[in-house]
Amino acid sequence: MYNNLWLIPFFPLVGSIINGLLGKKIKNEKVIGGLGTLMMFFSFLVACQNFFGLRASEQKVFQESIGSWMSVGNLQIDWGFLLDPLSAVMILVVTGVGTLIHLYSIGYMHGEEGFYRFFSYLNLFACAMLFLVLGNNALVMFIGWEGVGLCSYLLIGYYFEKKSAGDAAKKAFVVNRIGDFGFLCGLLTLFWALGSKGVWTMNFIEIGENAHLLESGGVLITVVTLCFFLGACGKSAQLPLYTWLPDAMEGPTPVSALIHAATMVTAGVYMIGRMNVLFAMAPTTMMTIAFVGAATAIFAASIGFAQNDIKRVLAYSTVSQLGFMFMAMGVGAFTAGIFHLMTHAFFKACLFLGSGSVIHGMHHAYHHAHLDDDPQDMRNMGGLRKFMPITHWTYFISCLAIAGMPFFSGFFSKDEILWWTFASTRGSYVVYGIGAIAACMTAFYMFRSLFMTFYGEQKTDARAKDHIPESGLTITIPLMVLAGLATVGGLIGIPHAIDIFHVGNLFHDWLAPVFSQAQQLNVIEAHGSASVEIALMILSVLIGLAGIAGAFMMYMKNPEAPGKFTAKFPGLHKIVFNKWYVDELYDFLFVNPCKRIGTFLWRGFDVKVVDGVVNGVGWVAKGIGAGLKYTQSGYLHNYAVAMVVGVVVIVGYYVFG
């Protein structure tokens, strides 16, 4: 029944290969884009089929292997896929959102020189992401893990002639690699640790079944999980490895939507969910995750305050939201984390696509007016809702969702997270507090972006002003679908406290087979009364409203306020505007020293010391030779003297010795 799992990544792969190899010849954008989208759609269909199959089935874990990958002694790695509730959700999100974004891209990328290349990469990305999600062992996951990194690299660097794009692509990959370093270390340690207990495996299910062999809360498991968490940090842009994500906005907007909002960046969360058994066993790690998540959430949000590039605001928002997810994972709210992952995929993809639509329009206008301004700068926008109503509305809905306004999807997921941070056995009020503030800040800067873009007076250059069109159908359809999902998507996870209609928390129930065991074994649960939960919900809605109100006050009512504010705290603004100088700090701490060390090792050590020794030996030998040759003075006497000395020494040694 589930033996068609492999088809899910296979379709995009085929699309990628066909487009990659033949795209240049095909040239026809409709064919190329259509093929890419269709492949995603097929894959979505298969995913759906599997999802519903799983739903209907009693058994919740299915594995499928299509062959052995590596078989060396006790290391046996299969090309294996795993279907369980968690991966089922993920494949739906990936293929569903993926399909929409493919569709969107047809319109958005219209006329690009590397159109075929883009679709090839995008399909390849989907393929890799599906590998990541579906892999039944850590290594297949890792193939996807690195594969999405590769595609992210390719797509960020899509406009490769732009230096900033190249830099960003490289940065993304390298920072991801730092995470991968952690992932590998964790994986290898785990493999060895389990192996030394007699179980040589990298299969997730087997890991889960045998995790009890390791000492719960022990050093080993803590190290392993911390290593994995480092991997997650890299991929999901958590502190301190988040810096690549904002830069990644150099890629085309659909890429930002798909990869850097909806799917790839959530891989870390997914991975923690996948290995929840291990993480549950390591409280220290969990706490670390929660705090890192919280810190990231508030930190990124603070930067989001001061950004003027619409995509960058969204990028920092993504970082911040990912922080929420990690917070959730850290306090043991695995379901909530995954839930937020999913809702986030909806509204953030929608936001990004909306911003893409705006940029597309602005670009069009500037192009029309032969201007060279930055189409992404919000300071040049304003009042766009007149020109792009659909975009505006979808954007608006998504903003509500992200701000956690009641009954939008974000509301359910975020509140569940906050509730868990507050009430979980692994939770902490500090984390809750930070989370709450971050939620407020989120509402503020999201609405700031909304107001700056769509409301107020239009600040666009006069020549371009009136040439901003609403985008075409391929763009607006995905927007609308996603906005719809952002609106209603949360309803599958209605918290118990407000479950008036007793539909139950569908999402929670669905994922229960994956997480409940770990949670029960390690006593991770949120305990508290429904009234407290409801109180907290109201509080968080109020917090969100406060954020919105703040944004309204500063950017609608009182447009001079931000200017005044910055004038009052120039230092603070500068720091925030420059993203806390983290990039510079990293340059100072890591990049430059590495370069310096590299240069030193090369020019100093390699050339001077090692080669110096080598050449020195040669030089000394030659020098000795050049010196010794003067013993060969050409004078007969010296030769005779040498002989006599030889005789005297040799004979003397025996005669006197």
Partner: protein
């Protein structure tokens, strides 16, 4: 008597040898060398080797020295214009003294143990030294003798080849 003769001859031999190394004029050196050869001839006689003494005088003092003196004259080598010694005088001297210690040491401390041959004074006297030499040379040492002839031939060719003026 024998001792006095020995010491006297030895002294002269040593002095002559020393003056060979000392004389400014090569001709003088040559004459000293001849003196040295003659002293050795005396010693050969004392050692009951009259035939060797004879050829010492004939071959060495006669033939070789004449050749040397002839060449000195031919090349018209007068007294050396500068120093007769090279810059290595001191080193050479020291080395020679060391050599002297060395040689004295092994000559004095060593034993010439290979005694017991059949040629005693009586045999020499009864048989004759020349005869003995002749016998040895044409029985046991026939091959070296023949080789010596080749050696002389080679030397002659060499001398001719090297001193011809034109090809």
């Amino acid at each position: 008597m024998e001792a006095i003769l020995f010491y006297l001859t030895a002294l002269v031999a040593i002095l002559a040898a020393f003056f060979v190394t000392k004389c400014r004029n090569p001709v003088n050196s040559a004459l000293c060398l001849v003196t040295n050869f003659l002293c050795l001839a005396v010693l050969y006689v004392m050692l009951e080797a009259p035939f060797m003494a004879a050829i010492q005088i004939m071959v060495y003092a006669g033939a070789i020295m004449v050749l040397i003196v002839f060449v000195i004259m031919l090349l018209n080598l007068g007294t050396a214009t500068k120093s007769v010694y090279t810059h290595g005088l001191l080193g050479g001297g020291v080395l020679s003294v060391l050599m002297l210690f060395l040689t004295n040491r092994f000559v004095a401390n060593g034993q010439a143990t290979g005694t017991g041959g059949e040629i005693t004074s009586e045999v020499i006297q009864s048989y004759g030294h020349t005869e003995l030499i002749g016998k040895a040379m044409f029985t046991d040492f026939l091959l070296p003798f023949e080789i010596a002839s080749i050696l002389l031939l080679v030397a002659i060719i060499g001398a001719v080849v090297l001193s011809k003026r034109k090809v």
